[in-house]
Structures are given as structure tokens and as C-alpha cells.
Symmetry: C2
Subunit: 157 residues, 2 copies
């Protein structure tokens, strides 16, 4: 869907904002009625707070915007496959759809380590689409970690 590509572009922009403040570059967008109602990026180091992942911050903003905890009718776009915490928050918030960019081989909880969004005993199963702008999402992460390694190397010489 063209719309999905457009909103993932905005999620990528959010991820680049995380990059610019030295955070692992992951960004998220939530839409409702084809309008963006929340944007966020990873702020774990800046706050500092262990729960300040892009998806969680976006879900909290969307709840404030709609003044309800059920995000029925909403779609979450995120550049990377959600971790267990964020996948659990997607179930808890009853989001209709999740669109993500690239897989997370180390902690992904939608397809990789766990399949939280499709567990038969959980009471909510959102539609999931993976791989939208996968390469751009993955490249941003690769650039970030490459730069971080170079900085570390530089500080050792």
C-alpha cells in the first residue's frame, strides 16, 4: 500500500532523529483514520529510561491523544521488529495493525524469538506486515553501529 510506504518514511525520519542524538536509530508512527496521531523515537539513553523504546512512547502518546487505552482503528509503523516489551504493548493496546521494516535477529518478538502477536491464548491478534523499506531501516542501524565502533576505536588510539 502506498500509504504504508509513506508512513514508514516518517518512521525512518523519526529513527534518524534518534541517530542524531546518539540513540540506537529506531522510529515509530501511529496513524488513525489515515492521519498521524503520534510519532516517537528511541530515547533510552537520553531520558534515561529502560522502557523508552520508540513503540512504547508512540503508544503512550496515541493513548493521550485519543484519551483511551484501546487503540482500535490504529496502525503502528516501526522501523525494526518489536522486542517482547513492545510486542506485548501492541497486544495490550489492541492496535489493529503493525507494519515493521527490518527483523531483529537478537530480540525480535513478532517473528524471530517469540511470536507474541499470534499466540492462540492471547486475546488480540493484529494484522502484521513485515519488510516495508527493510533495507533503509537496516542500513540506518548498520551505519549507527559502524560509527559507534569507529568512535570507540578512535578513543582507544
Amino acid at each position: 500500500m502506498v500509504q504504508d510506504e509513506l508512513y514508514m518514511k516518517e518512521a525512518l525520519h523519526q529513527a534518524s532523529l534518534a541517530f542524531s542524538v546518539g540513540e540506537i536509530p529506531i522510529g515509530a508512527v501511529i496513524t488513525y483514520n489515515d492521519t498521524i496521531i503520534a510519532t516517537a523515537y528511541n530515547l533510552r539513553e537520553s531520558l534515561p529510561c529502560a522502557t523508552a523504546h520508540a513503540e512504547l512512547l508512540a503508544i503512550e502518546k496515541a493513548c493521550r491523544t485519543l484519551q483511551r487505552w484501546r487503540l482500535t482503528g490504529c496502525t503502528l509503523y516501526v522501523t525494526v521488529e518489536p522486542c517482547p516489551m513492545c510486542a506485548g504493548a501492541i497486544v495490550n493496546s489492541r492496535l489493529d495493525r503493525l507494519i515493521y521494516g527490518c527483523p531483529d535477529p537478537k530480540g525480535g518478538a513478532v517473528h524471530t524469538l517469540f511470536q507474541i502477536l499470534s499466540h492462540p491464548q492471547l486475546n488480540h491478534h493484529p494484522e502484521v506486515i513485515a519488510g516495508i523499506q527493510q533495507e533503509s531501516c537496516a542500513n540506518l542501524l548498520k551505519d549507527f553501529f559502524r560509527q559507534r565502533r569507529q568512535k570507540k576505536k578512535g578513543s582507544l588510539t
Copy 2:
């Protein structure tokens, strides 16, 4: 451990505060160096916010108190087995220990539906103790749902 019983009592007190404002009665406490540094109870309906579970609110408070996202050296006490979101937040915050009261047969993500805290590919495995004051924790939930059913019945007659 006597201390574990004492801190679970405070978590139960937090759960009773949730009960008194009409929230599903779940409470949490985080300790560091044998001192309580965060308390919280479920506020999903009151805020309203899908992520406002007792554990997540307590983790966020503890990060603010210690001004770091790594909660190394801390123990989380919670009256009910954490859901996937909260179990994921425990991994993300590197908490040393989790002590919980009663299991959650519908959504528990520590022993029941998932075993998030012991997954071999996740990078953190806290010590877990289950069943501390299990009956009191479960009874509070039972009382809450019984009262809610009676109120619903009352409003229908």
C-alpha cells in the same frame, strides 16, 4: 526470605489502592540496597493508557530515581505474574530479581504462556521467585472480579 514477604506486603497494599479506584488490583514495588525506591499500581483505566501496568510504572519511577536505565542491583515485587510487555521491560531494565505472587493463566509471560525471562537468546536472565503470598494476591483479584460481576448484575436488574 523475610524481606521478600515484607516487600510483597507493600506490593499488596499498592494493589489494594488500585482496587479502591476501580482498577484491576495489581501492585508493584522496586527495591535497591534493601530500600524501596519505587511503588506503583495499575492505572490503565484512570490515565487512560494501555502501558500503565504496575510493573512498567514502577520501572519508570526507578529509572528516574536512580537516573539510569539499567536497574542492576534492583528487585521487582509484583502481585501477579507479569504479561509479555512487563516481562520484556524486566529484561530491558536488567533487573536482578523478580518476585511475584500468583500466576496469570491468561497472559503470564514468565512461566505460563511464554518464558521470556529465561529465553537462551535474550541477554538477561533475572532470578525469579514465584508464589510469595500467592493466596492473598489471588484473592484480591477474585474479590475484584466478583464485585465487578455483582455490580454489572445489579445494573441489569
